[in-house]
């Protein structure tokens, strides 16, 4: 059965196709635009946090942009999305406006959760974005439930459930894997393996560090993907989503990625070698990757990118302005949305 691909570890090597010829100019520019939007948005969020305008826990996605951009490029509007607290990037590419997200971060009435959720708890029913969850691992069981509903409603949709390498150790992940495989639920599990769970490096928290193998005993195909290469991500995600959509059950993608910043704004990240983030930035940056190869191969020009840079700057500046000038929720909102 070809469905064993990857589970044995045989075919599951990191694919490095370095932007093979699969993506068109338009696609590449769009990936660039989305990744840059996330990067600039997150930098701005970090700055507003430093100014005391955003509070609580705030987890930035900087460095991991290619994962959500690549996967989203492979999905369609019938599909549902769910993730943890590192969610700003997922929301941006799901099509939720930068304004609404930033205003949620500043806790304003115009935020996507009307200021009641904050960074870790954001949702958009309209975009089938089901959170934004603060409890590590919760989104895996919930995401399996979204897949259950797709199957139940026979709507041809797939559930995309994102979680971290640390979350991959929660028991409910394996309870979910078992049910998903048993019932052939249309779910793609996407492990964003950024090598650390807070301050704990993967080899200190996982007995098997090749996380794509975690589905083996559940008969779930697993694949490791270079999560810093947006095209490789897109290709792998297409395979996984096709598999799930065609009724063959769940699929597991382990995205090898990296977060540049600390775990959250208040984490100094002293637990990793000082030059490790620097090295990743300089050699593996997902945005530089696309930029360099596109320019080298003459797929696009500096001027093409400048237009995008400017557009992104404006979107982010506008979102930040909006998030600071919007009013706080009215006091009457305190006791609403508790029951229907």
């Amino acid at each position: 059965m070809a469905a064993k691909k990857g589970a044995s570890g045989k075919d599951a090597k990191i694919i490095d196709n370095s932007l093979s010829n699969i993506a068109s100019r338009e696609e590449l520019l769009e990936y660039y635009r989305q990744m840059l939007l996330i990067r600039r948005f997150e930098e701005k969020a970090g700055q507003l946090y430093g100014m005391g305008l955003i509070a609580g826990f705030c987890h930035l996605y900087i460095g991991q942009e290619a994962v959500v951009v690549g996967v989203t490029a492979a999905q369609n509007e019938t599909d549902s999305i769910i993730t943890g607290y590192r969610d700003h990037g997922h929301m941006l590419v799901a099509g939720i406006s930068a304004r609404e997200i930033m205003a949620e971060l500043t806790g304003r009435a115009t935020g996507c959760s009307r200021g009641k959720g904050g960074s870790m708890h954001m949702f958009s029913q309209e975009k089938k974005f089901y959170g934004g969850h603060g409890i590590v691992g919760a989104q895996v069981a919930l995401g399996t439930g979204l897949a259950f509903a797709h199957q139940y409603n026979n709507d041809n949709g797939v559930s995309l459930a994102y979680f971290g390498d640390g979350a991959a150790n929660q028991g409910q992940v394996y309870e979910s894997f078992n049910m998903a495989s048993l019932w052939k639920l249309p779910v793609v599990y996407i492990i964003e393996n950024n090598q650390y769970a807070m301050g704990t490096a993967i080899d200190r928290h996982s007995s098997e560090v090749e996380l794509f193998k975690r589905g083996i005993s559940f008969e779930i195909i697993g694949e490791a993907v270079d999560g810093m290469d947006v095209v490789a991500v897109k290709e792998a995600a297409s395979r996984a989503i096709d598999h799930a959509r065609s009724g063959k059950g769940p699929y597991l993608l382990e995205m090898k990625t990296y977060r540049y910043r600390g775990h959250s704004m208040s984490d100094p990240a002293k637990y990793r070698p000082k030059d490790e983030p620097k090295h990743m930035r300089e050699t593996r940056d997902p945005i530089d990757h696309i930029r360099n190869i596109g320019l080298e191969k003459g797929i696009f020009t500096e001027d093409d990118l400048k237009i995008i840079d400017k557009e992104v700057k404006e979107i982010v500046a506008d979102a930040a302005e909006f998030a600071q000038t919007s009013p706080e929720p009215d006091a009457s909102q305190l006791m609403t949305d508790i029951y229907l």
Partner: protein, 446 residues
């Protein structure tokens, strides 16, 4: 036009910091992502990155300068500018951290002190008191070990276990995967076999993954085994609302665990109680839920400077004597109650403040005796009211001191909604000292 780089806040509770080190000098070219400086707070050292591009024009503070307030310009960069030119003004009022009480200093008119007046004292934070308690018990008993997420190498997510890995090594200070249900069960099993685990939950919100083992395995084992299997285990960590961390990270579990026979539940306020009660908890042969509070970790209190400071579990403490009304509280709400009592004094109302310290078993005697004297009761807690700690305190008083009551007992608690993130709504949601004052005035007719 020059862009100002501001002193950033690294956490919602940070107000100022030390500029430890510059990593750039005037004239350097910088781009987005470059590290400009290292700054220090009481909790951590962090790097400040720029998101702007340009040339460093000026460094406004020397390395080593302490006490730089958040949002003060620390450097100037000339250049094209970033995503937006100078940072817009902060609307100070609305972003002020709503829930950080100014550190309450220890009340000097302590009644029934746990130590006598001649005992020397030192000042210590609640954080370090907890650490010292664990260190002393780890030294004292080979069977004691500490386990939890980030407790060893990272020194604790809130730095409570600072230094313990160094002293006791990885056999006894153990980093776990994010596997609460698993490691709480594992630790309970180890306790059944005679070890004495201290299980740290990064916060009690995450103990919900593990509550089955706390209740079904630990709390009930002794009974179900007809007295054969006991578990000497401490489940500890911060409980309740921190600051702006939203609905899923701000839950107060006081009443949940206090509902369960077989568990003892401790929720200290100051450093001395944190130390004396944690040491007692570790020695106790029963499963104990030890509820700390993140907002108290950094606060300093006097603590007796003695060899082995252990307090009895199950004794409340009168923190302030009064004659007109009894206010009961635990954990962070004790500070609010003391503040309220001060304010009430100005209004001519003499309030007695009881720090419950242990929720199960509840020291009903101290509460009843106080109410018999004051004839009025306000029961305050941080969590939700329905079926809560205050409800229980009032039930006890109505049952045992009904005839002494001159007015209906009243509860003060969090609003009956999940905790909102927005600063203004959060402040409205959590009980404040003013809510206690209002409740007292309502039943004292003043």
């Amino acid at each position: 036009m020059a862009i100002e780089i501001l002193m950033p806040a690294l956490s919602p509770t940070m107000e100022e910091g030390t500029l430890a080190k510059w990593l750039v000098k005037v004239g350097d070219e910088v781009k987005s992502g470059d590290v400009l400086a290292e700054i220090e707070t009481d909790k951590a050292t962090m790097e400040v990155e720029t998101i702007d591009e340009g040339t460093i024009e000026a460094l406004l503070f020397d390395a080593g300068t302490a006490g730089i307030k958040v949002n003060t310009p620390i450097a100037l960069i000339s250049g094209e500018g970033s995503v937006s030119a100078p940072p817009p003004k902060v609307e100070a009022a609305s972003v002020a951290i709503a829930n950080i009480s100014t550190p309450v200093s220890v009340v000097s008119n302590l009644v029934e002190p746990d130590w006598d007046a001649n005992t020397p004292t030192i000042k210590i934070t609640v954080r370090d008191a907890l650490r010292d308690a664990m260190a002393e018990e780890l030294r004292r008993d080979e069977k004691v070990f500490l386990m939890g997420e980030e407790v060893a190498q990272y020194q604790g997510a809130y730095k409570v276990s600072r230094g313990l890995l160094d002293e006791f090594g990885p056999k006894r200070v153990i980093d776990t995967p994010i596997t609460e249900h698993g490691f709480a069960g594992l630790a309970t099993g180890a306790a059944m076999a005679g070890l004495k685990p201290i299980v740290e939950f990064m916060t009690f919100n995450f103990a919900m993954q593990a509550i089955d083992h706390i209740i079904n395995s630990a709390a009930k084992a002794l009974y179900m085994s007809g007295g054969q299997i006991s578990t000497s285990i401490v489940f500890r960590g911060p409980n309740g609302a921190a600051s702006r961390v939203g609905a899923q990270h701000s839950h107060d579990y006081s009443s949940w665990y206090s509902n369960v026979p077989g568990l003892k539940v401790i929720a200290p306020y100051d450093a001395a109680d944190a130390k004396g009660l944690l040491k007692a908890a570790i020695r106790d042969p029963n499963p104990i839920v030890f509820l700390e509070h993140e907002m108290l970790y950094g606060i300093e209190f006097d603590i007796p400077d003695v060899e082995d400071y252990v307090l009895p579990i199950g004794k409340a403490k009168i923190r302030r004597e009064g004659t007109d009304v009894t206010i009961t509280a635990h954990s962070r709400m004790v500070g609010h109650a003391l503040k309220a009592a001060e304010e009430l004094e100005g209004l001519g109302i003499s309030a007695e403040v009881i720090d419950l310290r242990t929720l199960r078993p509840l020291d009903t005697e101290t509460i009843i005796n106080s109410v018999k004297k004051t004839n009025r009761l306000v029961a305050a807690e941080e969590g939700w009211g329905p079926m809560g700690v205050g409800a229980e305190v009032i039930a006890v008083v109505v049952d045992q001191a009904f005839d002494w009551l001159d007015a209906q007992p009243v509860r003060v608690h969090q609003k009956d909604c999940p905790l909102p993130y927005a600063a203004n709504l959060e402040a409205l949601s959590l009980p404040q000292p003013s809510d206690i004052v209002a409740a007292v005035r309502k039943i004292c007719n003043k």
